[in-house]
């Protein structure tokens, strides 16, 4: 076997370059096809990571704890006490990187000119900072000082719609403990920048201020937490659920379904793209290889007349294809790596403006080569390509020497 390979390998390699134009065309087909598959996978992965990070780091965290029923009806009626006992010790353990307690209720904000619905979030700024980027996105004014801060931080766009600004007063109305309307004047102390939907929805004040407004003592409605990257969140969730069966504990996959959908969708999209590209490549490869085989019928006849077994002819043609596609795959990988490295600082989606927010992506995508994906997709393309060329190879091995020799 090795002897035969030693004979066939140089033969196959030289055969490839007997018709360079045909070879180069096939190599190009394969390399461009693979390049598109690999580059798409990198981009989509960057998109899904960006979408997840953007959502999770704004407000969501990786998991949240609520009273049962809160997610369907976010009012203070569905509130919970501060975490205690085992839940508190899990939250304080290394299994949780950071957590924050919030009072998050549907509310109405009123300025001289407009009345708009929004969500009032009472929070402890020191804790909030450890899992949310919003405190650092305050462009004008300041973020909250502490849990007793009586100021309010609005999104830029909400402030614009209210025609209000830093230093002015807005009135916030929310449902209190007894279901009555509670209202309070807040001074705008800061404006934050975020995706427009977030800017319009969330306004922040001190946790204690919000608790006083709604009259619920030290109760809260939400705990958001993040876990270390290298640990499985499912494990932490299971332990939390076991410790507090009365609470509704969810991971970001439930809380931010769009981000989760994006992250699973990209895998399927890449597979679909792979099949489409592969079908196109296969047509190109099989077509050129069939042409080659027909052109070389006299050659195969001669080889067989000289005593080469049909099996070896089949092997020889298959080897040629394997090398041909192999070169194409190698070039495809090289092209993809180069393409990715052409954007060392990420791809700025700024030109899409706020449109990028609609699909949940952050403003900058950071494409990264994933060696595992590259090897997997390349192997799939290479193997399937070789399998497709078995057809022309078989045709070559079926050539009858007498017929072939008499043909020209």
């Amino acid at each position: 076997m090795m002897d035969r390979l030693r004979l066939l390998l140089p033969l196959a390699w030289r055969n490839l370059w007997r018709n360079p134009r045909r070879t180069i065309i096939t190599v190009l087909v394969v390399s461009v096809g693979l390049w598109s598959i690999l580059t798409f996978s990198v981009l989509l992965k960057a998109w899904s990571v960006s979408s997840r990070d953007t959502t999770l780091k704004l407000m969501t965290g990786e998991g949240q704890i609520h009273a049962t029923g809160y997610l369907d009806d976010p009012t203070v009626a569905h509130r919970t006490a501060q975490p205690g006992g085992e839940l508190e010790s899990i939250l304080a353990s290394p299994a949780v990187t950071a957590y924050t307690q919030r009072l998050r209720v549907a509310a109405i904000v009123q300025s001289e000119y407009k009345t708009l619905p929004m969500t009032l979030v009472g929070t402890d700024p020191a804790r909030e900072r450890r899992l949310s980027v919003l405190p650092d996105r305050v462009g004008d004014g300041r973020y909250l000082d502490g849990p007793a801060d009586t100021g309010i931080v609005l999104g830029r766009n909400l402030a614009r719609r209210l025609k209000t600004r830093i230093g002015k007063r807005v009135v916030v109305m929310a449902q209190d403990e007894n279901g009555k309307l509670a209202e309070r004047a807040f001074q705008v102390v800061g404006l934050y920048a975020a995706p427009q939907q977030t800017e319009d929805q969330f306004a922040f004040t001190g946790l204690k201020t919000a608790q006083a407004l709604t009259g619920i003592g030290t109760d809260i409605t939400e705990i958001a937490f993040v876990t270390p990257d290298d640990r499985d969140i499912a494990d932490v969730l299971a332990r939390m659920k076991a410790s507090s069966p009365g609470l509704d504990i969810q991971s970001w996959k439930t809380l931010a379904p769009l981000s989760y959908a994006v992250s699973t969708f990209f895998n399927e999209f890449i597979l679909m793209w792979l099949w489409i590209m592969f079908a196109l490549m296969a047509i190109g490869i099989v077509n050129t290889q069939l042409m080659a085989v027909f052109e070389r019928i006299r050659e195969f006849g001669l080889l067989q007349a000289l005593g080469m077994r049909p099996r070896l002819v089949l092997m020889e043609v298959t080897l040629e294809s394997a090398m041909l596609i192999g070169v194409g795959v190698g070039m495809g990988i090289a092209l993809s790596v180069l393409s990715v490295q052409a954007f060392p600082n990420g791809i700025d989606l700024g030109f899409l403006g706020r449109g990028a927010e609609l699909v949940g992506a952050g403003h900058i995508l950071y494409p990264k080569v994933d060696a595992g994906d590259f090897v997997l997709y390349s192997l799939i393309v290479w193997t399937l390509g070789v399998v497709a060329t078995l057809w022309p190879a078989r045709r070559a091995s079926r050539v009858s020497p007498v017929e072939a020799m008499g043909r020209f």
Binding site: I108, Q110, S111, E112, Y113, T115, P117, T164, K168, R169, V170, V171, M173, K180, L181, E183, R184, A185
Partner: protein, 253 residues
């Protein structure tokens, strides 16, 4: 209800406080409060016309209103046919609307209370936050002018610290006999946002009364809402069923 809106918003006083006219510098707080107290002790029944004017159209609606004390008000539209039967009931802090076409009573959520009422330049809040001006502002007399036999006082109302109001201030013009002559709402930059003016004072229901009042939002040319009181009865007794949801949906009057 509209009467209430008008009065309360504007801090109108239906009854005269003749002593005020003689005092060189009346206490603005007391002036407003006396005016309010006079009005609040009343119950009232009025027939009004509300005209909503917009740059390219104008329409008028006829309505009947009943008020009792500080908290209860009922407004029912009687014309044109398109609007007849629409009614708004305010009882305490709660407001309901009835739409005859839907045959439904809807309780207004807080988010709706700042919305326009029947397409006019008044909001539901104008109806339900009736005595804001008395309780949430501090009052200061800023000047007085002579208007024939009467003195007209200008009063600045500034929000008390921490009071849940959005206005920068409100200025009110009250005649010495407790007739509301105008009110301006300022934003927190002290730019006027909307202006209410009394265009005609005459006798109705046995007392001097601002019978024609117009609300104009600032910087919106050609937009205003005028309310004209045609007949009024004050201090009549109100049947107990009047301010009920049942009466809102199935009128007994």
């Amino acid at each position: 209800m509209i009467r209430k809106a008008v009065f309360v918003l504007l801090v109108a006083a239906a009854m005269t406080a003749p002593a005020a006219a003689d005092t060189t510098a009346p206490d603005p707080d007391a002036l407003l409060r006396a005016a309010f107290d006079n009005w609040r002790a009343d119950s009232s029944q009025t027939d009004m016309t509300m005209t909503v004017h917009r740059p390219d159209w104008e329409r008028s609606m006829e309505m009947k209103t009943w008020t009792q004390g500080d908290d209860d008000a009922l407004v029912r539209f009687t014309a044109p046919a398109k609007d007849a039967g629409n009614a708004t009931l305010k009882k305490g802090d709660e407001t309901w609307v009835f739409n005859p076409k839907l045959n439904q009573v809807i309780k207004l959520p807080a988010s709706m209370l700042a919305q326009s009422w029947m397409g006019s330049d008044f909001s539901y809040n104008d109806l339900s936050k009736a005595n804001d001006l008395l309780t949430k502002y501090t009052h200061k007399l800023t000047g007085s002018t002579k208007d024939g036999p009467h003195t007209v006082y200008s009063i600045d109302a500034t929000p008390k610290p921490g009071a849940p109001v959005v206005w920068g201030k409100r200025t009110v013009r009250v005649r010495d006999d407790g007739i509301m002559l105008g009110e301006t709402y300022y934003d927190q930059d002290m730019k006027p946002v909307r202006v209410m003016t009394t265009e005609k004072v005459s006798t109705v229901g046995g007392r001097d009364y601002p019978v024609v009042m117009t609300m104009r939002p600032e910087n919106q040319d050609g937009k205003w809402t005028r309310i004209e009181t045609k007949t009024a009865t004050f201090n009549g007794s109100m049947p107990g069923y009047l301010f009920t949801l049942s009466n809102l949906q199935n009128p007994r009057n």
